[in-house]
């Protein structure tokens, strides 16, 4: 028996509900029994009447409570089940098909649950099962027990491409009849209808489609200075807004949201478009667009070179030459580059600081030494210097006898003239580009000829540096690596004076291949052909990028095809690179069709939402128990058997359950309280457990010494994580340096510098006093210290002078050993004008506390005491060693005294003078 979504296992028990009104009457007639008390004062009560007589009968709310409790118990025992399962299980083998493409990723866990539920059901009824992921290549389907599939199902992940050529699976289907469930992603796929018809021929086919629309982001394109983004959706339902994020590294290399836009889908529209206007600096950093909140590779579009606009500095001849515009050495470069790059012009010394990606020198022969140095430095950082030859270069002495640093080859004097009026030869055509050349694969138009060029000296590495040559083998373009950058020389002019190459489309393609210019739109087959593209990053079906690792490259032609038709098993979506150029292969291409699946007539299409049968018996019975418990309390209260204290119960409960408004003490608060209870010595946590333990024990030992010998009574020391903890509580930080500790973040440096500026002291201990100074090079700890200290606001340092206040702030000391003796200890340098006063034993030094003390004596080990108050590490040998430990303790006492009292002891030198001035 069932009522809507509710069913009962024992519905006849519900008849008990009829008894409720009778129960009501019965209960109403029997008020709670009175309590009888012996009380002498009754004589005074005689004649007093109750103000309220209605309580003679049971109060209505108590009745209701009891009736509800009984009703809940009756209904509970009737065994209600919410959402009962009415379906009758089938028989025979069961085939479960998953699309397993990118569109499944958005609700993959739900699909897994559904598939697991189907598996479980099949397992219970002993049916054989096969699970098929349609993005795999077709392979024969074998029915196995459901248990065998359960584990494999959990490991199944969607693939970042669409299922393709589904009709190939028809041949893979097993013999005999079977039922099928198809967990479809809702999109139309090739061969889908064929496969569905084939499955229907074998048995019942139930298609399960998830609700909600499939959303896809198309690749971004660059139009008229704006980034144009398009999104598509499957269902053309009502108007919706969809946010899209542009992500990329920020200047410090951390991936961040760089821009955000909103797609607005009109009602009935399946496509939407927005324009993002970003400053070039930001735009060049964007490496991925993603639809907000969509967990699918289809909602992610990686961006490649097509959005990048390089900064190119064009430098022509310095002297203004009156002449035709067309004869200007940079005119064709302007034409070729201005649509696809940001051009800088000006003198070389002006543009280098702007750090352009490419500097083009068109027929510039001589450079001054500062210009050369600046260019070399820029090249070392990865710049591309593109030079064109010309009359001036040919006439100059540059790179003639010795190779110029900024030229890839040595040049022969004069160059050569071909096919001119004064020459014998014909103008030369270009030879096909050799394999290994960045231009390999480009078509060479037949009409491109070179009539004049500069010639390279036949040096041993000329061949390896030649990346384009004329038909007779003379180099046309040569290249040399300089640092992380490269120098490329076109042996012809950048204008049409020496050749008609700059007039041809080949010139533009060559510039693009050199990553001088970037492609304005989606790459075409010929742009990629002939090169091997290595995946740099691959994207999974959820849109998460991972480094591809060592993967074999793919042919450019195949990549170009995949960009048109979408990725597949051999070509996962991701970012592919060839030398300097990068191409993104996205799941969704500019013209990928997002269409709804069209199932053959008679297919049962079901939703994916799972409604679990839920037995309500326990719930209702516990409700009845709770109500009865409440009834007990209420009845006690009515009859006055509830004590006074118990009457305050509701109040107590209310107080307990009122949300706590006050701020609870967080661990940080507790730590702060701990740290401010007294003087707390702190050490920086290095991440090395042993070093941290020794530092803790060392400060404990020093604290005990201070407690015994001085009026400083420190609390137990604390370890400080400079990234997270507040440093303001501590006057003193002991910082042991380990070679592998992490460099503090920017925020931590800010904290540390504030700590130093506001009077804190850091004692850096490189703990290498045993080996430091044995060789010239510094130890790993020393290098690490330099690295750490580079971000700190540390004043000039000097070794502790003999009259520094540290030598006398408590004990008179002249050396400062720790576990190792004899090292140098560095403190803030004295002011240059510090002088020894008349009659004073000390110079008036350091009117202030040195913010850092740097040494390598491993003081913590010398100070360290274990929990039994025993020293943890031996110092030196025998009595001399113990004496050294004592001096180490004295140094620690002096340091803490210096931290806490500043230059007070330094001022003590004035005491004799003050006494003298007072007379007597």
């Amino acid at each position: 028996m069932s009522f809507g979504a509710l069913a009962f296992t024992a519905p006849w028990l519900l008849l008990g509900l009829i008894a409720l009104p009778i129960l009501w009457l019965l209960l109403r007639a029997v008020p709670p029994a009175p309590i009888v008390r012996r009380f002498p004062g009754v004589a005074l009560l005689l004649g007093l009447t109750d103000e309220d007589r209605q309580a003679d009968k049971t109060p209505w709310w108590l009745l209701l409570l009891r009736a509800l409790a009984v009703a809940a118990a009756i209904v509970g025992f009737a065994g209600p089940v919410f959402n009962p399962d009415h379906r009758s299980p089938g028989t025979g083998p069961l085939l479960i098909l998953l699309d397993g493409g990118w569109a499944d990723a958005r609700d993959w866990p739900k699909r897994m649950d559904k598939a697991a539920a189907l598996l479980g059901e099949a397992g219970r009824s002993g049916r054989k099962v096969a699970v098929v992921r349609l993005t795999d290549t077709a392979q024969p389907v074998l029915f196995q027990s459901a248990e065998a599939w359960t584990g494999r199902l959990a490991a199944m992940q969607p693939q970042p491409w669409s299922p393709d050529a589904l009709q190939t699976w028809i041949a893979a289907l097993p013999e005999g009849s079977f039922d099928s469930y198809w967990l479809a992603d809702g999109l139309a796929h090739k061969g889908q209808a064929d496969l569905a018809t084939a499955l229907q021929a074998r048995g019942n086919l139930t298609v399960i489609e998830a609700p909600g629309s499939v959303l896809a982001l198309r690749p971004a394109s660059f139009v008229d200075g704006d980034i144009v983004l398009k999104a598509a959706r499957l269902s053309a339902a009502g108007a919706t807004d969809l946010e899209v994020l542009a992500r990329g590294p920020d200047p410090s290399g951390i991936d961040r949201e760089l821009a955000r836009g909103t797609f607005h889908f009109e009602a009935g529209a399946t496509e939407a478009e927005i324009k993002l206007t970003l400053p070039p600096e930001l735009r060049n950093r964007v490496n991925r667009f993603e639809l907000l909140g969509q967990r699918s590779a289809g909602a992610v579009s990686l961006s490649d070179d097509s959005l990048k606009r390089r900064k190119i500095a064009l430098i022509g001849d310095s002297a203004d030459r009156e002449g035709l515009q067309l004869l200007s050495p940079t005119h064709y470069l302007h034409q070729a580059l201005s649509p696809v790059a940001d051009l800088l012009e000006g003198g070389l010394s002006d543009v280098v600081p702007a750090n352009p990606d490419v500097i083009i020198l068109a027929d510039v022969a001589t450079l001054t030494q500062p210009e050369t140095d600046a260019l070399l430095a820029w090249l070392d950082k990865g710049g591309l210097l593109l030079r064109f030859a010309g009359p001036r270069l040919a006439a100059s002495e540059v790179s003639r006898s010795a190779e110029d640093a900024l030229m890839p080859v040595r040049l022969r004097e004069g160059g050569r003239d071909l096919g001119g009026a004064m020459s014998w030869g014909e103008a030369k055509a270009l030879a096909p580009f050799a394999e290994g050349s960045p231009f390999h694969g480009l078509d060479i138009p037949a009409d491109v000829t070179v009539s004049q060029q500069v010639l390279a000296q036949p040096d041993p590495d000329l061949v390896s540096r030649t990346i384009a040559a004329l038909a007779d083998g003379t180099p046309l373009v040569t290249r040399k690596a300089v640092g992380a950058g490269q120098v490329v020389l076109f042996h012809v002019t950048a204008n049409a004076e020496w050749s008609n190459l700059p007039l041809s489309g080949l010139f533009v393609q060559m510039l693009e291949r050199l990553a001088v210019s970037t492609r304005p739109a989606q790459p075409e087959a010929k742009d990629l052909a002939g090169l091997t593209w290595v995946p740099e990053k691959v994207m999974d079906a959820f849109g998460v990028e991972t480094n591809a690792g060592e993967v074999a490259g793919v042919e450019g032609a195949a990549l170009a095809a995949a960009i048109q038709t979408g990725p597949h098993a051999g070509l996962p979506p991701g970012l592919y690179a060839s030398t300097e150029r990068k191409v993104a292969l996205n799941v969704i291409a500019a013209d990928t069709v997002i269409a709804a699946a069209d199932w053959p007539a008679g297919t049962v299409v079901d939703g994916i939402e799972m409604v679990k049968a839920q037995a309500l018996k326990g719930l209702l019975l516990s409700l009845a128990m709770v109500l009865l418990a409440a009834d007990v309390v209420a009845a006690l209260w009515l009859s006055g058997r509830l004590g006074r204290a118990a009457r305050a119960l509701p109040l107590i409960l209310a107080v307990l359950f009122v949300p706590h408004q006050g701020r609870a003490q967080t661990p940080e608060d507790l730590r702060g309280i701990e740290a401010t209870r007294g003087v707390v010595l702190a050490h920086v946590l290095t991440g090395n457990a042993e070093v941290d333990r020794v530092a803790q024990a060392g400060l404990y030992g020093l604290g005990e010494t201070l407690w015994q010998r001085t009026s400083i009574e420190p609390e137990p020391p604390m370890g400080v994580d400079i990234e997270k903890d507040d440093l303001a509580f501590f006057p003193f930080l002991y910082w042991p340096i380990t070679p592998d500790q992490p460099i503090p973040s920017q925020a931590a440096y800010t904290k540390l510098n504030r700590f130093l500026r506001t009077g804190g002291m850091i004692l850096f201990d490189t703990r290498d006093g045993d080996i430091a100074g044995l060789s010239d090079s510094s130890t790993p700890e020393g290098q690490m210290l330099k690295l750490i200290a580079s971000g700190l606001d540390i004043p000039p340092l000097e070794p502790i002078p003999k009259d520094h206040v540290l030598t006398r702030s408590f004990y008179l000391l002249q050396d400062f050993p720790g576990r190792y003796a004899g090292g140098t200890v560095w403190v803030e340098a004295a002011a240059p004008d510090a002088e020894q006063l008349e009659g004073m034993p000390f110079r008036n030094l350091n009117d202030g506390v040195t913010p850092v003390i740097i040494g390598g004596a491993d003081w913590a080990s010398a100070w360290a005491l274990d929990e039994n108050y025993m020293t943890m590490f031996p110092v030196g040998r025998g009595y001399a060693g113990e004496k050294q430990r004592e001096i180490a303790y004295r140094f620690g006492v002096n340091v803490i005294m210096h931290v806490l009292t500043g230059n007070y002891k330094s001022d003590q030198v004035h005491v004799p003078a003050l006494l003298e001035r007072l007379g007597e």
Binding site: I35, R37, L48, D52, R53, R641
Partner: protein, 288 residues
Amino acid sequence: MSLSPDLRARAETLGQSLPALLAEAEYLAATLMLGEHGRRRAGQGDEFWQYRPAQNGDAARSIDWRRSARSDAHFIREREWQAAQSVTLWVDGARSMGFSGAAERAPKLDRARLLALALTVLLLRGGERVGLAGLPPRPGRAQLLVLAQALQAEDSADYGAVTAEGMVGHGRAVFLSDFLGKLEPVETTLAAAAERGVRGVLLQVLDPAEEEFPFDGRTIFESMSGSLRHETQSAGDLRGRYLQRLAERKDRLAELAGAVGWHYHCHHTGQAAQSALLWAYQALEGGR
């Protein structure tokens, strides 16, 4: 008689502890040490009161020659008049006195008997004659045993009615009861006492529960024998009116006592017995 030795021992203890308690009250301490009550006027007694010039009619043997030798006149040495007093105790033994509001508290009757016996100890030690209603007042420690035995008597009535029986003219009387029953016997007794020149003390002994009325909910209140019943749906609502009636009762008692020169005090079993004893003793002294 099972309770009696214990009761007597406790009473003795309480009586003996009183001097220490009264160390500050110098007069009372002195009196206790003397054991006799001075009348603050000349008369028969052992204590010196005053010298006065001899007059005609004074016996020659009454002249204090030592004092007279220091002057020309003759002086008579007068002694303070000291006389033993008769004190009649009445302790309400009715059922209502058997009430105790909490398990750890003794019934009111216990406290009343204890106070009565302690008072007897003090009075007997002071040389007074102490008696009960129906037991003539006699001095001497032997009387203590007799009284302790007589105090064991219980009354089967719900509320005790005080009587003037056994009161000695111009004596003292101490009534210990909860005074929760009818007030007519108290009024008639006090009137009779006033006629006979008897003065004394009304000591009302109440349980704290009677003072606070800590009851709630549907309750049937019964007197100790069950003869009186009162049912209420919500005892808590009656609290205010009950307390008002109790206060009226106390006022009435104080008024009755004041009218005939008696003293009234309300004592709770939750308090220490010493304070009530001290008050009763002082009231008996001061009433003179």
